[in-house]
């Protein structure tokens, strides 16, 4: 048995399906779930031919018109019309697609969950190190460049502090040259090509997790970054921006700290606040863990998803 990623008996390829009807019958399929709006569109002809109900998840990338292929908005309207159910990953995106014409009765917010077993609570690190970590692809909306500038501002006050960015992507060169330009020296490191399996371990070394997400120049936005949920589950104090769905998971000064997006000074102040107020960390992280357990637990969210499937299929 070959078990390479995405190559196992559970994975089928749309382009390899010869006859949709036969395929659906043979594999006993009762519903299609597209995990992005673009995929929902791609599956519409398949849905038409097989009359299966179509569920579409809506993520950050789906909710911007910038850098989309020709006819995207028209396509989305068609999808809202023909699809049965839409599962935006946060309220913010639910609101967006509603504005674009998706009927409210077809919308259910389904927060993405994290596997709590992979991220057990270990509580804040109170040893005195000052390691700030940010994880995410190197694309504009992740806001790494803002974090680097904010870090530069506090660096002289906290000579022991370090900043680690974990991720790869199109802005790699830019991030590297920015680090040189800001003269961050050895206090900064960029780890790219880190396998997903190493993330929990790297996260455990962090003192503060920062998610400086922002709206990119082309309009690209986030939903709720998974890394925030993972950091919150682990018990690392989180500092993030009031961007997209993030305020739905973090309440400022309750289970973390929120700052305005794309605001270097505000972020620098918050970093300083976090580093100077270690005594708040335990309170933040306990509240955060509780929040994640209640609302972002993968097993609970999958059950909720199954419930939505059942509703759609007329079961219980």
């Amino acid at each position: 048995m070959v078990n390479l990623p995405l190559l196992n008996e559970k994975v089928h390829y749309l382009s390899e399906i010869f006859s949709p009807q036969e395929y659906v019958e043979k594999n006993n399929i009762s519903l299609i779930h597209a995990h992005h709006a673009q995929l929902g569109l791609l599956l519409l002809p398949f849905k038409e031919e097989t009359s299966l109900p179509l569920v579409t998840s809506i993520r950050g990338r789906d909710a911007t018109l910038a850098n989309q292929p020709v006819g995207y908005l028209d396509g989305m309207k068609m999808l809202f019309d023909q699809g049965e159910l839409f599962l935006p990953v946060c309220q913010y995106l639910a609101h967006r697609i509603n504005l674009w014409g998706c009927p409210p009765e077809k919308i259910r917010v389904l927060y993405g969950g994290v596997d709590l077993n992979l991220f057990p609570y270990r509580g804040p690190n109170l040893q005195g190190s000052q390691n700030i970590v940010s994880i995410g692809r190197l694309v504009e909306k992740k806001g790494h460049h803002v974090l680097m500038q904010a870090f530069k501002k506090i660096k002289s006050k906290f000579p022991k502090a370090t900043l680690t960015i974990i991720g790869g992507g199109e802005l790699e060169e830019y991030i590297k040259s920015l680090a040189t330009q800001l003269n961050l020296g050895t206090s900064f490191r960029l780890l790219n090509r880190v396998p997903k399996s190493q993330v929990p371990e790297l996260m455990a070394q962090a003192d503060i997790f920062c998610a400086p997400s922002l709206t990119a120049a082309n309009g690209d936005v986030e939903g709720i970054p998974n890394t925030i949920k993972e950091a919150m589950a682990t018990g690392i104090p989180v500092l993030a921006t009031t961007h997209a769905g993030i305020p739905e998971i973090i309440t400022n000064n309750k289970d973390g700290v929120l700052v305005r997006e794309n605001d270097v000074d505000h972020l620098a102040q918050a970093l300083e606040f976090m580093l100077l107020n270690r005594h708040l960390w335990r309170r933040y992280t306990l509240a955060a863990r509780k929040n994640v357990e209640q609302n972002f637990d993968q097993s609970k969210q999958l059950l909720l998803q199954a419930k939505y499937y059942d509703e759609l299929l007329g079961g219980s």
């Binding site: 070959v2 190559l7 008996e9 089928h12 010869f18 791609l42 519409l44 002809p45 020709v70």
Partner: protein, 501 residues
């Protein structure tokens, strides 16, 4: 500026040869002619063949009333000056689309309708010949075959849309917008449904791939030298051979080795066809293109194939990456025509393929750990990486096919013993790439270049009365084979082999 009439376009061995003493830039080249930009509004297409210039001229004249045709400005015996479009092609325009826009569908249907009205027999255009102007107005170029080829249904357009995963949404829209057109297409496809027991493939002759009837091209998975492969159902495909000899050779190898896990299941055989299991999944070359390191499991599974080939008495031990498919029931390998008629002790083409992907060193290291003896055997002499060196190491041997019922029986099967048929139309020379491979991976960079080089070689050969290939097929064959020097000398011709006797 110099006169564009000074530019000379002639037919080369494979591609056109261009002698351009002017400053007019070359902006496109096809099989029949080359296009040079004259100004922001004009370009000139210069043909190597005046007949084709005439054909296109006739079509352009017939279409001047159509807004989507390029304006015709001037013409001569071997050239046509026409409108130049500085715009993206429809293929570029639709990039990343997952559902074809309504406006584009409407415009395409309009164009096809007008072509029909103008009584073109070729009611079709590939996406790369359609330009999208700023106001989304479409323009169509290249009408050489407008009155020559018969495409009542836009086969090329549908093929291209299919590759971009847009065919289904296009058809869905057509069904709603022009039900009559949709019905007509469906009827055409039903009438031209593949009946593999009634074979439409013919051998392309010397150095050519098989010719495939384009009417049934919608289910074509791949076409190569010996045959074409079509999907016939959810889990079956049929390989149709240009020559019954090839068919029998491969059929018997497949049937005698059905117990080997990497051999695709065979369901039915005929004189010119084999119905076998359709392999779902990417070929290994496509798969490895997306990897940054060589997964050890890949090495392990490849080694298993090669080891079981050896144990099963295969004469040619190899597993070219594009012939290996990663399916959810393991690695499968296709194309075994020459497994018993070429003697090759180490997987040279696999080495070459892995080298191209940058994984050869890693592969050998992993082999060294898994099977030190095999590693030692493979690396005793340096691994050849050029085509020429590789060819020197492969020897043609009299075909000794395994028996149908019991393996390694059946020496000297009628017509095969000692008679190495066909020259050396090695699979990798296939004009159209692999037979079993997925179509959209066919024409990629290096492979394409390599193929083109070979094509050139092959065509050169044509003019030489096929001295080499021809003789190899004759009774002299044995003599040649036994003469090492001769063989070496001809090693290089192996790949240029002729299909003709």
């Amino acid at each position: 500026m110099a006169d564009f009439r000074l530019i000379k376009v002639t037919k080369g061995p494979k591609t056109l040869l261009i002698d351009n003493p002017t400053n007019f830039p070359l902006i496109g080249m096809g099989a029949q002619g080359a296009v040079f930009k004259l100004s922001e509004e004009r370009c000139v297409k210069i043909y190597s063949n005046t007949l084709q210039a005439q054909m296109e001229l006739e079509a352009l004249k017939a279409g001047q009333h159509l807004a989507f045709f390029p304006r015709l400005y001037d013409f001569g015996e071997n050239y046509i000056v026409m409108e130049y479009f500085n715009a993206p092609t429809l293929k570029e325009y639709l990039r990343n689309c997952t559902y074809i826009p309504e406006s584009i569908t409407r415009k395409l249907l309009y164009i096809l309708g007008e072509m029909r009205k103008a009584q073109f027999t070729m009611v079709d255009a590939p996406l790369r010949h359609i330009f999208v102007m700023e106001n989304e107005e479409l323009k169509v170029i290249d009408h050489v075959n407008a009155f020559k080829r018969v495409h009542p249904v836009p086969l090329k357009l549908l093929r291209d849309l299919n590759m971009m995963l847009l065919k289904e949404s296009f058809l869905s829209r057509v069904k709603k917008m022009e039900p009559a057109t949709y019905e007509m297409w469906q009827q055409y496809f039903n009438e031209n449904k593949l009946d593999y027991r009634n074979i439409p493939v013919t051998s392309g002759g010397d150095g050519e791939g098989v010719k495939v009837d384009s009417a049934i091209s919608q289910t074509l998975i791949g076409a190569g030298h010996q045959g074409a492969v079509y999907r016939v159902s959810e889990d079956k495909c049929v390989k149709i051979y240009g020559k019954p000899e090839h068919c029998e050779m491969e059929q018997r190898i497949l049937l005698a080795n059905q117990d080997l896990t990497f051999i695709p299941k065979v369901y039915e055989t005929g004189d010119n066809y084999v119905v076998m299991e359709y392999l779902v999944g990417p070929d290994l070359n496509t798969y490895l293109k997306k990897q940054t390191t060589l997964p050890p499991v890949v090495t392990k599974l490849l080694l298993e194939i090669l080891t079981s080939q050896k144990q099963a008495g295969f004469k040619q031990i190899d597993a070219p990456l594009r012939h290996v498919f990663v399916t959810n029931s393991g690695f499968k390998m296709v194309d075994h025509v020459y497994s018993f008629s070429r003697l090759q002790e180490r997987p040279l083409e696999l080495f070459q393929n892995l080298h191209e992907r940058g994984f050869l060193a890693e592969f050998l290291e992993q082999i060294k750990i898994l099977d030190p003896a095999t590693h030692a055997e493979w690396t005793r002499t340096p691994i050849p990486l050029t085509e020429e060196e590789v060819q020197m190491e492969i020897r043609d041997i009299p075909t000794v096919l395994p028996g149908k019922s019991s393996r390694r029986k059946g020496h000297g099967q009628k017509g095969y013993g000692g008679k190495k048929a066909k020259g050396h139309d090695k699979d990798r020379d296939h004009k159209k790439g692999k037979e079993h491979g997925k179509e959209n991976d066919r024409k990629k960079g290096k492979d394409k270049d390599r193929d083109r080089k070979k094509e050139q070689g092959r065509d050169h050969d044509k003019g030489k009365d096929r001295e080499h290939g021809g003789k190899r097929d004759s009774k002299d064959n044995k003599k040649h084979n036994s003469n090492k020097d001769q063989d070496k000398k001809k090693g290089n011709d192996r790949k240029k082999g002729s299909d003709k006797k």
